[in-house]
Symmetry: C2
Subunit: 202 residues, 2 copies
């Protein structure tokens, strides 16, 4: 919620009390509309204001426009990635992969896949989307870089390819649900171990 | 187009000439509506008939209902997977991975990601979707089984996990476009080689 709070804290309207409840209602309305099938293109500040039970001015006091609001709403939807313990690269990867395709908010499952065709249409929206998922990727990347430094991973490791190797199978299983019978709780371990066999220093 | 033709060939209305042009218009209208954002739920035979410029009866003569038409339309959208040469497991995997996230029809990019939340909602739709992507998976699975038999791959290989390890990174890159600067033409080779290092018999 830190992004939202910082917006509310921004001194755009001195004297006005910040309204966390209004912020939450606005974010919630945005996510509700997206989960119900409203496209990013069709999403309007009017519709969000009406759903949230606030005036448009209340939204514009907190966010400069639809895209800024959208970025905050999606970031809150995704949640904050867990903090790895920093001892074993394998264990940290298992921890981080446990959150791939998992979101605290069930609306994510409806919103995220459908966003893709839309966010890929323009450069700005593409960057907005990348910004939303970047915190999770950054954390994985740190663990992989550390693994190279400590010698747990190959010195010539392609970090970006390794990111795709680790997260891709998780998304296939958890978002596309290729194999409903596969035990989801052991999946991160199985993916990490299978990928490590390829990237671990020998 | 073989599914479509076999529908048209089915002796439902003896004496009526089969109309390949009508079949194509119906499939095309279905895909157009989906690509424009019509949900599977909202998709109606009426709307498809109207868009295709045919009567509803023309559709019902060829398909028993919306789901059967949807399955044919999506199968045509996905296209037929390539035939592997059958010499090297590595080369066959590279060939097959080249088609992951690639579809002859540009409407696939808009239709496929958005289908996920909907098809995951009911068992019937989930199975419909799985049926559409199964031919590609089946071909990959055959190559992996062959690799185990020939000793090119580990004897204890988990085929379903290997499928996810191979296709997941391709989808991440080609559908989610994590790294726009990554050279897409060498991606299948790089993914296959990275995954093989983990699953290849030593």
């Amino acid at each position: 919620m830190s992004d939202m709070t910082s917006h509310a804290d921004a001194p755009r309207s001195p004297g006005r009390p910040r309204s966390t409840r209004a912020d939450e209602a606005i974010i919630d309305a945005t996510l509700d509309l997206l989960a119900e099938g409203t496209t990013v293109e069709a999403l309007s500040i009017e519709a969000i204001a009406s759903r949230a039970g606030v005036g448009k001015a209340t939204i514009y006091r907190r966010w400069p426009g639809k895209d800024a609001l959208l970025r905050d709403a999606l970031s809150i939807l995704k949640g904050v990635p867990p903090e790895p313990a920093g001892r074993s690269v394998r264990d940290d990867l298992v921890l981080l992969l446990g959150t791939v395709g998992r979101n605290a908010d069930p609306r994510a499952e409806k919103i995220m896949p459908c966003l893709l065709p839309e966010v890929n249409r323009t450069r700005d929206r593409y960057e907005l989307y990348q910004g939303v998922i970047e915190p999770r990727r950054a954390r994985l990347r740190e663990v992989l870089h550390r693994g190279v430094r400590t010698g747990e991973l190959r010195a010539d490791l392609d970090i970006e390819l390794a990111l795709a190797l680790l997260t891709g199978p998780m998304l296939i299983q958890r978002v596309l649900r290729w194999h409903p019978e596969l035990d989801d709780t052991v999946l991160p371990e199985r993916v990490v171990d299978a990928v490590l066999e390829g990237i671990r220093a020998r």
